[in-house]
Subunit: 176 residues, 2 copies
């Protein structure tokens, strides 16, 4: 089982090498030596930054006919208000700035009507994921995971190391 | 059943009215008169525009450890190559320009490293959805639905009428 898993992972890297720089190839080879196997889980949510939370909530509930749209919840420690739009298989997270130092203020200054801000993906072990991702050249915005909107460990990965996409990881040990 | 449904929809609109302009209020009230009820379905995929498809596929398969990453498929009629990254509950669609007139060329010119391009949501009846959405002030990029990457009717909604988000609708009659 371990050998099969190792073979699959090494084979995948061989294919990947054709598309990666020499530096990243070396980093991935190094990471392979010690890193345990893990698999990417479900899409937890797609986050949309919005300039007006009441209007955005009404849009998704009444115009787009979403089955369930939560109340707005202030998250002072993250500098945002959040609303979750239930889609059945995953969620949309609406984000609006809370306070003067909101991490989404810059995004909304550039995208005045709002826009897609990030995607959040579940992982079974966030520390294990961070270790192997960092060894592959992926950078995180925080040194350590923080507690996210669902009371679970989360960490953001730098978009410049994820093909221009801001990726949040959320730890879900018991389900993907 | 019909009365309950009508009551729920009218109540929702009353809440929504506080956040909508007078023009949109009137449009929604008008739309309510004749429009049948429908519900938004699952998130079909999140689309990411990428400047290098081989590199992006390798990133999601080998660095992000996605369980399944498809081959690249040319879609000349849509001006893109597509790769689907399976996440268990939904998919990421990687998009790379095909030909000189790709609809994602402008996006990649502005976002050279790539980025999140649109979200695709399932609806049970695309014509019914379009009728009520248009009556609520939502504009579509095409007059009529086209056949999308999965051989099903799709239509794109204008981001300026969807809070800055480019939204694709895909018709799934038998499942959401």
């Amino acid at each position: 089982m371990l050998l099969t898993s190792l073979y699959r992972r090494i084979s995948a890297r061989v294919v990947a090498r054709t598309a990666l720089s020499t530096t990243r190839r070396t980093l991935i080879t190094e990471a392979l030596k010690d890193s345990p196997a893990w698999k990417l889980g479900h899409l937890n949510h797609v986050a949309i930054a919005v300039p007006d939370m009441a209007q955005a909530s009404a849009f998704w509930r009444d115009v787009m006919q979403a089955e369930k749209v939560s109340e707005s919840v202030p998250m002072p420690e993250h500098g945002v208000y959040t609303v979750f739009v239930e889609l059945g298989n995953t969620k949309i997270e609406l984000l609006h700035p809370y306070g003067d130092k909101s991490p989404i203020a810059g995004f909304l200054a550039k995208n005045k009507s709002g826009g897609i801000h990030h995607i959040c993906l579940n992982v079974p072990d966030i520390q294990q994921a961070l270790t192997t991702l960092r060894a592959s050249g992926v950078q995180s915005l925080n040194d350590e995971p923080k507690t996210g909107a669902h009371g679970l460990p989360v960490v953001f990965l730098h978009p410049k190391t994820c093909g221009g996409v801001l990726v949040e990881l959320e730890e879900h040990r018991n389900r993907c």
